[in-house]
Symmetry: C2
Subunit: 122 residues, 2 copies
């Protein structure tokens, strides 16, 4: 389909709760996930909420990875937004789901920027 | 519905192309949009790509706002992800669409983290 962006929305339930409240480890995981996908990291911003929960983003040259965690519910929302044909968002998603220890995982796949004149992507 | 997050995905076509390539103005707009929604900004990260295009995020205490722009296509993908009942993501979306000058705008509304035991949100 002719789209500028490829957007994966990951619902990660029943994750490792300790990990969900550790911004340092989550930052390393998201950067590693970007590397798994073959993406180039350009910027990062992570925030640890009081008393618990983390919001973090890794901006990549090919768009972004985002995580919000609710440790008290064992839940994380993760988005992987990529553009171009070289990055493998699906690989990052699979790898990250494994590391997060989720035992109840689902994924929604979206196309963003469906426009005339845009080259076809996978 | 009982969900932790409320996620708006905005497709903004035919925007002001000059604005789409101006990270400083886009950063101010996203912060202003967060304020319009009644959200609390906690962190920001914006990146200007060579030769054109901007990726930016504003982390709010109630989740995040994200923008990716393709000035050469007049297009921006914007996400507004909020949690809790106090923030008005719809207000931020409407306000931002106006400022971006989009004449071809669509929006997808999603719930994230639909879990048992989570209080009902609007």
């Amino acid at each position: 389909m002719n789209a500028l962006g490829y957007h994966l929305l990951l619902e990660m339930k029943d994750c490792n709760r300790e990990l969900l409240n550790d911004p340092g480890r989550l930052e390393r995981l998201l950067v590693d996930a970007a590397n798994q996908a073959g993406a180039t990291v350009v910027q990062k911003a992570f925030h640890h909420f009081n008393p618990h929960g983390v919001s973090g983003v890794v901006i990549i040259a090919e768009s972004h990875l985002f995580i919000h965690t609710w440790p008290e519910h064992g839940y994380a929302a993760v988005d992987i937004f990529t553009c171009g044909d070289t990055v493998r968002a699906d690989k990052a998603a699979e790898w990250l789901a494994d590391k997060m220890g989720t035992t109840n995982f689902s994924m929604i796949e979206l196309r963003r920027g469906v426009l005339p004149g845009v080259p076809a992507t996978r």
